[in-house]
Symmetry: C3
Subunit: 261 residues, 3 copies
C-alpha cells in the first residue's frame, strides 16, 4: 500500500499562475444546473470557458480546445452521444480531458453504463465524490443522487484500482480529498462543509482540473493543486451571511486568489 502524502500547498502556486498566464480554452460539456457557475469559475481563475455541444461541432472543437470537461449530471440520449463523440476525439487528438461521473450508481443505470463507455476513451482525470468513485469501480455505494454519502477514505482503494486499470488520475473529493495515479497518493485537507451546500462546487472543481491539466504536464500535482485551491477558497469565503453570499464569495475568492495563501 502506497503512503499518503499531504500535498504541500505552496506547490499549487505555479499551477495557479500557469492557468492565468496561458488562459486555456476549456471545452465544457456539462450539466444544465451548473453551466453558469462553471463558466464563471473558469473565468475567475483566468481560463476561457466554451460550452459547445452540437453533434456537428464537438469533434472540431475538441481539436482546438486546450482541454475538455465531460460532466454527466443531466445526461440524456443526445448528450450521451455528444459526450462519446467528444471523448473519442479527445483520445485521438490527445487532448487532456476530465470525466465527472455525477451520480453514477445502482439507482441510475443508464448514466453508469455511459460512464463505463466513456472510461474506454482514456480520461486524463476522473473527479468524483466517494459514492461515485465506488460505483464507477463496481463497488457498492450509499448514495442515490448527486450528493455523496460515503467517506473519501472508504473509496481510496477503489480510486487506486480505477487509476491503475485505466492509467488515469482519480480525485475523490469530500472531507479529505485524495488524488492518486494508482501509485502516489496526495491528500488535501481543509475546506468547509458549506462547499457541499452550494450546487456546482464539485462540478466546477472538475472544470478547474481541466484548466490545470491543460497548462501543465505534471497532471497529478496539477489536479491536487486545483483541489487545494477550491478547499482554500471554501475557507476564505464568507459563510456568516448565508449560502447565497457564500456561493458568490467562492467566485470572488477564486478571482482574487494570491500567493499568500
Amino acid at each position: 500500500m502506497s503512503a499518503i502524502k499531504l500535498f504541500p500547498s505552496h506547490d499549487a502556486i505555479p499551477f495557479i499562475e500557469q492557468v492565468r498566464l496561458q488562459r486555456p480554452l476549456i471545452h465544457c460539456i456539462t450539466n444544465d444546473v451548473v453551466q453558469n457557475f462553471t463558466a464563471n469559475v473558469l473565468l475567475a481563475i483566468g481560463a476561457s470557458p466554451a460550452m459547445v455541444v452540437a453533434e456537428q461541432e464537438v469533434e472540431d472543437f475538441v481539436a482546438v480546445a486546450s482541454s475538455l470537461l465531460i460532466n454527466i449530471g443531466t445526461i440524456d440520449s443526445q448528450s450521451a452521444k455528444r459526450m462519446l463523440l467528444a471523448a473519442a476525439k479527445a483520445k485521438q487528438t490527445q487532448t487532456p480531458w476530465v470525466l465527472d461521473p455525477v451520480a453514477v450508481g445502482a439507482a441510475l443505470k443508464y448514466r453508469t453504463e455511459i460512464a463505463q463507455q466513456l472510461l474506454t476513451f482514456s480520461p486524463s482525470v476522473i473527479r468524483g465524490n466517494a459514492s461515485e468513485i465506488l460505483a464507477l469501480s463496481g463497488q457498492q455505494s450509499s448514495s442515490k443522487g448527486p450528493d455523496g454519502l460515503d467517506s473519501t477514505d472508504s473509496a481510496l482503494n477503489a480510486a487506486k484500482l480505477l487509476a491503475e486499470k485505466y492509467r488515469t488520475i482519480v480525485a475523490i473529493t469530500g472531507e479529505i480529498d485524495y488524488v492518486t495515479d494508482g501509485k502516489q497518493i496526495y491528500s488535501i485537507v481543509g475546506g468547509d462543509i458549506a462547499l457541499t451546500r452550494v450546487t456546482g462546487t464539485g462540478c466546477s472543481l472538475s472544470a478547474m482540473v481541466a484548466a490545470f491539466i491543460a497548462t501543465s504536464k505534471d497532471r497529478l500535482a496539477a489536479t491536487a493543486s486545483a483541489c487545494f485551491m477550491m478547499k482554500k477558497v471554501g475557507e476564505l469565503a464568507n459563510k456568516q451571511s448565508g449560502l447565497g453570499t457564500f456561493a458568490m464569495a467562492i467566485i470572488d475568492q477564486l478571482s482574487l486568489f494570491n500567493q499568500n495563501h
Copy 2:
C-alpha cells in the same frame, strides 16, 4: 363558500424543521432558466436536489426520490415525454409530486395541453400564479408569458374547483397567497414585490413545496408553510442594494431561517 383562514405562521416551524432533519431527495424536472437557483434554494432549506431527466432514468429515479417536481417552463417534445413518464410513475409509486404549470394559457397551447395530461396523473400539489391557475381550470387569463397579470383573488374560485376536480391541493401565489384543498383555504400575506422581479422565485417555491410535502402527511399545511417561508424570506432579504443582491439574499435568508420569525 368556505371561509379563508389566515395561516398561523408559527405552524410553519415544524415543517421547516422536518425538511432539515430528514433531508429529502427531490427529483426535479424543471426549466432551463432556474435550475441553478432551484438547486441552491433546496440546498439552503436542507433538502437534496437531483436533476435527473433522461427518458431512461426518470422512472427509476422517481421510485427512489422523496418527491418529484415537474415545472414546464421551457418544455419541448422531449421534456414533455420525460415529464409524462415521471408523473405516471409517481402516481404508481405514490411518490408525492408538485406540478408548476408555468405560462399555461391561450398564447401557449402546447404546454397547456401537456399540463392537462399531467393533471391526470394526480399531482399532490399544483403551484402557480393566478393567470396560470385560471388558465389551467379553463378560464380566461390576462397573461401571455410567465409573469402573471391577474390577482390571486380573481383565481380563488378556479383554484377551489381545480382542487376538487383533481383531489389535489392548489397554491396560487401573488400579492396574497392562497392554498386550498377545495374545502379549507389558507391565506398567507406579507412578502415583497421584489420577489416578482427575480427569476425563479415562484419556480423554486414549487421545489420547496415538493420538499415540504415529502416530509409531512399534512400536505395542506406543508404547502402553506413553504409559501410562508418564501414570503418571510422576501421580507427579510436586503432590497436596498438592488435586485442582484436581493436574489442572493433570498438564498442567504433561507439558509439562516430560524424560529424567531
Copy 3:
C-alpha cells in the same frame, strides 16, 4: 467613410425609461449558460423575459412577444430548427429581433452556417464581439471560442458592410462599442474590462437591445442606449470584492440605474 459620432449619454435616458414604462415581453431563445442571468438582467431593467423554445410554441409566441432574441451560444440541431422557425415568423409578423452570433468562425462551421441562414430573415440588430462580426461578414477572425480576441476597430468596416447588406443595425462591443446602420456610426466608450470576465454580459446586452428596440422606433439610438447602459453599469458595479460580487452588482446597478449617470 462616415464619421464616427460619440453617442451622447443623456440621449439614452428616454430609452431606458420607455422599457420601464412599457415592460416589453421579450421572447428569448438563448444559450444554456446565460438563461438565468439574462432573465434577471431583463427583469432588472423592467422588461418581462419569456424563454419559450418548443417547436410547437415558438411561432405563436413570436406573434405575441414585443421582440425576440436569438443567441446561438449552445446551438444544436434542435435549437437551430427552433431558431429558424422563430426568425422566419418574426420576419413575417415584423416583430423586431436581435441576433447574437456567439462564437461563429472557422472553428465552428455548423453555427456559422446557421447564422448565415438566420441573416436571411432580416434581424433588426446583430450584436457581437469583433471576432464574431468579422467571421459573420466572411472575414478572418482570431478567436476559437466565445471570448473575442480582435479589437472592435478592426471589425468596424465589416460591421458597416454587414449592416448595409442586410439592412440592419450592427453593434460590435468590446473596449469601444460601435453601433452602425451602415451609414451613421455611434461609438460608446467607458465600461470595464471586468465585464469580459463574467459570463453572459454580452449575451444579456443582446437581450437588453431586444427590450430597447421593442419600445422605440429609433433602433440605432435604442441599440446605442443599451450599450451605454451596460458600459455604465460596468463602471458603477463594485469590482474590489471580486468577480462574484461584480456579477451580482451588474444586476444591482441595472435595477437601480437612474438619470444622474
